[in-house]
Assembly symmetry: C2
Homo-oligomer: 423 residues x 2
């Protein structure tokens, strides 16, 4: 009899039949005696269509108006889901992000949720209605302007609602059956994880696993909301993202949760930096001013003969040109020799909370890569993660060899991909 | 330096190029030193597309959710217009009906505006922005629900904003050059009216002239807002709807403003009604209970021999089946003989404030119809209007003969139809 919050992405709402299927799922939960609150994304490709419209009238549309435009997408899908529910004999009330009390900061296009005041939702639940909320959007606290939350916004909306409503669970419906030990398109024998911890899921998301967005997991972790990632196309149990996966289970938690990969980064090397105090700081200051997000950073020890060092770092490819330009502007000042840019790289990460208590993981990982003939270019580690940069063409081999080395392979194929991919 | 309110319908916003053209027109007015507030409809056929989506998920969608869905249409167009303005180097702020302070009653699908509190609009104007408002929508005063205003809603939004902002003028942009003395598709020599009074425009609108909606004109009349109906496809002056068209002009106002026609009505005759007190009342009570809107009503004197009378009335064809069913249910009670239903009728109306002071209009009108071989079925008059019901097939002849008889024909063709028709 608790509150269940669900999230359906665009691929689960591609057309009228999909909307009706989602409505039936929602009604089942209501019939089972729960109060149901649902966050929805825009239907299928409708966000792309709105973007096309915008770029048809202006090459650089103002962010405020872009948010006004894009929020129409979720408005349409939430009304349709409410209608489909009504057609099944239940009543639903749809609410925009603003009506649902999703309060954000004022950064159009990538606003952060700063509060949720779900008064209208609790009133509607109290009246026996199913509540549908437009995901991905809110209203700014100070200016009362409509904002959008950026990538993964509807996942974040769902978890934020679950936290504000003290829901029993936040179910994230997607087009795969859950979180897998690796991308099933690369590792056919990837296994679905029954449970995974917030911290592991955070690392997986940060390292390229696209199933849940970082902000959504972080919001769940902070508020201790169990997140159930599952498919809207099947009735299978998915993956539970929880605080302590071992809790209540008899099985010991596996050492490694999974292998993630990411092909969206590029590497920049600043060659021949004078090895003096403050030179590195000046470089990273310039990159910060240019609003580039760096990931891994490596500085080699300087060759004693020259007192010159090389600094390498990775960053999203989309930030590549900005970063190169920012560095070029300070070449005379810093006195480095040259810049190298490489976007034919990939990152492969091994993630598992069990690493903390099990030595030897690194050597086993590197050994597996060596056996597969994969050369390691850069290394970065956290307490529960080891990431390496490799040649983009060797990403698949690297993922497969690591997956096998840590006995993650399932005995039969578990992964089914049902549709496209939503936002 | 006053405030100009403009309204652009769906046919003026059919695609990206149309949106850009509208943006250029808006910017011209801003450049001329005015503050500009613009009400927009949904683009082209987008409302029909949303209706199709709704009926794809539910045969009878709840009115609340239908309003939530349809209001997405204006949201999209207002954001695009604001973007296109920004691309011309001016700043625009778009506002939903709710944000613009359009307060309505709670009747979803055909809400009435009860107040306009344009605080955010005046603030934005004060900051130098052009303001774009989503037409056709508002928020209910008591329940804070999103509502739509029904047919002609964006015209009404524009006039209501003009009244609240004490604007100098409300410009209604459409796909014809103004209000004509008759439908140019029927009378090629129809003349564009330079000015027309509110009361004449009200009668024209009520009698089938589709260019302005009744509610919009009524709102303008009550608040004495000059309405300028003109084409978004030309730079021509259109028709001014004002309190006193003769004011400031040297020319005497013409006796007849125009000839309107309407093919959307049907006629029902209740044959053989006992001529007793209360029988007619019972019939119209039943029709009122069935929520049918009656137009003309005629009761013949009863034949002395039988004490039976016939009652005929006209009503929108869309209400025809409902009315027939309501009347059938009371046949035994009232004791009438039978019902006749005729939807092959048309209404032709002669409208002019000059009728008041010029006798002989009726005989001249009927004489013209007789010469054209048009038979009159029913007659109804007001102080400034004479309407007749004729055979649907004879509507064109009736309009043409009346138009000529009252010397309304222009010496050359003035009317150009540019596009489709918006809401």
């Amino acid at each position: 009899m608790g509150i269940v919050v669900q999230k359906y992405g665009g691929s689960s709402l591609a057309d009228a039949d999909a909307v009706k299927r989602v409505a039936r799922r929602i009604v089942e939960v209501k019939k089972a005696g729960h109060e149901v609150v649902v966050a929805v994304s825009a239907m299928g490709d409708s966000t792309d269509e709105l973007l096309d419209l915008a770029h048809g009238v202006s090459p650089l549309p103002p962010a405020r108006e872009m948010d006004m435009l894009l929020t129409a997408g979720e408005r349409i899908s939430m009304a349709l889901v409410a209608m489909a529910i009504s057609d099944l004999g239940f009543t639903a009330r749809s609410f925009t992000g603003s009506q649902a009390g999703v309060i954000t900061d004022s950064v159009h296009g990538k606003a952060k949720i700063i509060d949720v005041t779900p008064g209208r939702i609790t009133t509607a639940l109290g009246e026996g209605h199913i509540v549908i909320v437009a995901g991905f959007q809110g209203v700014s606290a100070d200016t009362k302007e409509i904002t959008t939350l950026g990538r993964g916004g509807t996942d974040t909306t769902a978890v934020a609602l679950a936290a504000a409503l003290e829901a029993d669970v936040c179910e994230i419906y997607t087009d795969v059956d859950g979180v897998f030990t690796a991308d099933p398109r690369i590792v056919r024998s990837a296994r679905k994880l029954g449970k995974v911890s917030y911290e592991e899921m955070l690392e997986l998301a940060a390292c390229g696993a696209k199933i849940l967005h970082l902000r959504c997991v972080e919001y769940g972790r902070r508020n201790n909301i169990p997140i159930h990632v599952r498919s809207s196309f099947s009735q299978l149990q998915g993956t539970w993202v929880v605080d302590d996966p071992a809790e209540g289970g008899t099985m010991e938690q596996p050492i490694i949760a999974g292998v993630a990969h990411d092909r969206s980064e590029a590497k920049i090397t600043v060659v021949g930096v004078p090895d003096k105090v403050g030179e590195a700081a000046r470089i990273f200051e310039a990159l910060a001013e240019a609003q580039t997000n760096l990931d891994m950073i490596v500085q080699n020890v300087s060759a004693a003969a020259t007192s010159l060092t090389d600094i390498s770092f990775t960053l999203p490819r989309t930030d590549g040109q900005t970063a190169m330009a920012a560095l070029a502007r300070i070449q005379a000042e810093v006195g480095y020799e040259k810049l190298l840019y490489d976007d034919k790289i990939g990152k492969v990460s091994l993630i598992g909370a069990g690493m903390r208590s099990h030595p030897g993981i690194t050597s086993k990982f590197f050994g597996a890569l060596a056996s597969a003939g994969v050369n390691i270019d850069m290394i970065s580690t956290s307490e529960i993660r080891i990431s390496v940069i490799v040649d983009e063409a060797q990403v698949d081999q690297a993922v497969q060899s690591a997956h096998s080395a840590f006995d993650l392979d399932a005995t039969e194929v578990e992964a089914v991909v049902y549709g496209g991919s939503g936002r």
